[in-house]
Amino acid sequence: MLTSILIILFLAVIIGLVLGFSSVQFKVKGDPIIEKIDSILPQTQCGQCSYPGCKPYATAIAKGEADINQCPPGGEAGVRALAELMGVEYKPLNESHGITKAKAVAFIDEDTCIGCTLCIQACPVDAILGAAKQMHTIIEKECTGCELCLPPCPVDCITMPEIKEDTENWKWKYPVYNINKTDSNKPKVSH
């Protein structure tokens, strides 16, 4: 009798320890489904989805409050990935939220800038440098191209030039063949 009580007590303690330990050790950061949705979103943080950023949109999708086709920067591929993750049918991008544009980064015409700092306050990723009454610059690498800095600028000195193709970001294109009929011997060039 006593031994069985002891065994049960012992087991209870062990299981309790294991559970306690694993709840600390394997604690999930945030809601896993929101994290998963957020990892698909492009993080442009532009708010075109009508939420104040990607995370809030992800949360809304997870709660079933928002549709999966509201993010223009994510484009068609983004909607497809979301559809697969959520197990719902793909649908084309809802154009009332905007259309997918080529990636661009903001550029400040430093001669015109009056240093009002309004753009800094608008930038969702702190990619603009500058202090009051001083010329401002964009940290090109950090800029997501969200365009949120455009409307606040009182002198309209920010533009959004598209990122041009160069030897670094160039990609091999999808192969297209010439269709010819005659036969010949190899070797041929396979590229």
Binding site: E142, T167, S184, P187, H191
Partner: protein
Amino acid sequence: MNLIDKIFKFNGGINAETKKNISTSMAVEKIEIPKKLILPLRQHIGNMPKIKVSTGDYVLKGQLIAEADGNVSAAIHAPTSGEIKSIEKLLIPHPSGLPDYCIVIAPDMKDQWIKKSSIDWKKIGLDQTIKLLLNSGIVGLGGAAFPSHLKLGLNRTNKIDTLIVNAAECEPYITCDDMLMREKSEELMKGIQLVQELLGAKETIIGIEDNKPEALDKINFYINKKSSITAKVVPTIYPSGDAKRLIYLINGIKIPKQKRAAEYGIQMFNVATIIAIYRFINFGEPSLSRIVTITGNLHKPRNYEVLFGTSLKDLIKKSGGQINKNNTFIMGGPMMGFKLPSIDISVTKTMNCVISAEQDMIEEKNEPLPCIRCSKCAEACPVELQPQELFWFSKSDQFEKAQNYNLFDCIECGCCSYVCPSNIPLVQFYRYAKSEIIADNIAKEEAGIARDRNDFRILRLEREKKERAERNAKRKLESSSNDKSKLIEEKRAEIAAALGRINKDEKIK
């Protein structure tokens, strides 16, 4: 039969016509200093180097003009003395046909060296030597252009037992390494000894295809029974010159996917790279020139030794121009190379060979047909992949599946395309899929940074809000504190005193 004679044949590969004799009948011709040198900043794998000169500067031969940016990068030096004419975007040897940053030098024809000094590497130690090599500008001259200091530095984490010298030169048409071995064998052997010592390797095996008997004779002249250097003849099977294939041919060691040879005690260098390292350590000469094969459909195909930056167009002219004027040129070999969008470019560290295309290379005479699942491609694949599956997944943008089928282990050797009876340009699809996946990964990485910065900003705004609230609260608190009331009291007293004085004055009046 001892191990040295045994050859371990890898899976697949092809036996194509080598067409090497086209360009080996004449000795390497050294090209005089041209009137203009165009040096692209991107000539290697890794970061673009940092420009160290400005327009109008006078530079000496061997002077550093662009410095390695970080560890995975390579420097660029002035190939001769002269003036920096401009730094601008010009066409470079790249399949995109897009311009990129170049330094343009107008040589003064004096060919004046900077002060050269040899490196006593035993005295300064290996670490210091590798640091110097970082700015030697030496990269793999076999075509891959991987910075050499990285390969030499690796033996600090992995013990290297064997140096394998890649003298296979397996692609058809290319003969620059063959000619280099024929003409510079003595320097090569000295270089091999040096690199073997730098690596701390016990032995060196030179892997050479059996289609280069002249070069082999020259090398064998320097090899004696007692030396730790041996030459091993491998059969002419393309792609025997691929690093992992050559190691297997020679040693029978199969380096698994995603592992490096160094982890198995092996390091490999190409013959031209070995000579470059030798010249840097022994004479203090950085990487300034190379041998390039100009061959194919030309009147006088041959090999040239040229300064980096020399115009390719001039070399083609020197070779008598095209016999059949089709204006199509391929850089690298016919199997792995790419069509040059323009020949208005200069010779770079990666340019081992330029082929003026024969007619049958450009006419896509065979109409690509659907895949018939014959699995000929799998039989030919030296990496033992399943090219037909990779093709299907790449074609239909199923990139994750393509990766699960080890797309990134594909060496783009082209054996599969070569044997495919349906004439499908398989490698084109793999290149497409690979670059899409790479771009996607970069976008993911950037998104990660943007996410972190946005999270940080939200935290910062919250913190600032809190701080502002705290400050306001404190101010309120302070205003109600004794200090304030004391101040007011003092002020009141002063006013009272002043009023008192006025009253006094009035009384006096």
